[in-house]
Symmetry: C2
Subunit: 335 residues, 2 copies
Amino acid sequence: MSDIVKIAIDAMGGENSPNKIIDGIEISLKKNKKNFFYLYGDKEVLQELIEKKKLIKDYCEIIGTKDVISDNESPLAAAKRSKDTSMWKAIESLKEKKTHISLSAGNTGALLVISRLQLNTIDGIGKPALAALWPNRNTMNVVLDLGANIECSEKNLTDFACMGSALFKSLFDSNLPRVALLNVGLEENKGHDILKKTFSILKNETNKNFIFSGYIEGNHIMDGDTDVIVTDGFTGNVALKTAEGTANFITQSLKSSLNKISILLSYTGLKKFKDKLDPRKYNGAIFLGLEKPVVKSHGGTDHIGFAHSIDVCNKIVRAQLIEKIKTNLITVDAN
Amino acid sequence: MSDIVKIAIDAMGGENSPNKIIDGIEISLKKNKKNFFYLYGDKEVLQELIEKKKLIKDYCEIIGTKDVISDNESPLAAAKRSKDTSMWKAIESLKEKKTHISLSAGNTGALLVISRLQLNTIDGIGKPALAALWPNRNTMNVVLDLGANIECSEKNLTDFACMGSALFKSLFDSNLPRVALLNVGLEENKGHDILKKTFSILKNETNKNFIFSGYIEGNHIMDGDTDVIVTDGFTGNVALKTAEGTANFITQSLKSSLNKISILLSYTGLKKFKDKLDPRKYNGAIFLGLEKPVVKSHGGTDHIGFAHSIDVCNKIVRAQLIEKIKTNLITVDAN
């Protein structure tokens, strides 16, 4: 049983839940049976869905919860009244050491608040951050923070470098991830003071759990020369969404530019192209810096995307992400 | 002669200059003969190039300058020793009222510093900003600041809204541009304090030279529902470069996905697609907030891109951009 990853799932969060949750679990189990799922949500509905799926019955336990947090609620209002919700209970199971990791496709802001309310931060970490995967020419980058912290100190950004490289190691089996700071130029004097201070801390750091490769500009995020890209939550959120908007704009313009015969003739090539950019493959933002890992699936993803986020959960627990973060930590005097 | 736009051109800045400059002027003159060009640079080289072009001889005057600012120089070092350069002299011609607008494809940082050294800011403007055009589903947005100011106050961002909408009016003949603030969410309480203060100033403003449409997120920049997008120079620079990197990544992945027959069969459609995204069409960043307009062409663009930036110069002068900025200005107590 020590080999089994216990995943607490908020089965009610996100579009088309809990259906896509159960379908996602089924897809995931077909590939990997070393997960066990604790499903938090409407007991009757979940029971009925699971009855139809022979495969997953033996890999699930349902824990009935009374209430659900909706996507439109303000995080603080939701958190206040959340103690009977599927989201709260899923996180609570981490605190109680019943599960190893928690996964939700629900309200992101509420998930961050509820996680922080119930879980301690790792000793030495100033602020937790939201990290995600971003495709590049070779494989994927880890980028953080994507919106958990609007303003960050040099201590926070240094923590993000340590946590992001630990995450990259956990997901991609790398020994020395290359970490870069997102900036508006490559020279040491570019950017604002906090970036310059972070640059100087990371440059002089002798703890060799990752390689600091200096600054990176937005146009090189996808080049594949870096593994972890560190930024504050404001910039990271704008960059991620801008990339998403640009990708949508281009692929939609493209669709209307190709005629049907061309599409058929290049079917295999275009399928590969579509696969490489399929956002479901990058589904699963990871809330890093708490004593237990919390994963956020995109609310709008489908069962295939949800299955990918289960895969992320499995890798994180197996690779002992939290231990890796502790090993990576650099001491910075917090101001 | 009052109908003629006098453009001061730093003929030595950017890759393949002055050749591309002269070729760009030729393209531009074929479309529009209501420009006159003052070319600052190496007299002999320019004379020789112009001798070969019958069309442009009557529309140019060469002013010999001794020195050139290179792309790799630090802005401040370049500015210090710049008084005999083509860039300095081109800007100086604005100060002397010999020309209406100045255009350079050279070192951006040096251009900003040299412009600020020689030209006053418009009365009431705190900091000048760099604006550029960004394609969207309908036509184009104006986005600013793209890197002139790493940190901005609510007064600066409010100025940017006024200047950006004046620029949009000048280029696209619109009466009431829709202005939005780039943020990480749409709710009034989202983002950092300076954004919230700017939101509140713009929301309560009764000077109706533009429509304030609230916050916008990065994934909606290209939707075409906004005309002017306002942000600080750090965020704007990261967003623009991230969009550029994403566009390159996708179009390169796409190229390798289509076979030759498909490309031939969809030739017209793909040509339109390529045209719409052609960065040369959006060439020309505008340095706004000085008493005279300064335009920066992309250093790496070719003669076609340079011709587009000449077109931008013509429109700006004809539309009396500086007067429009003055009309748009909102008074904000600078802290």
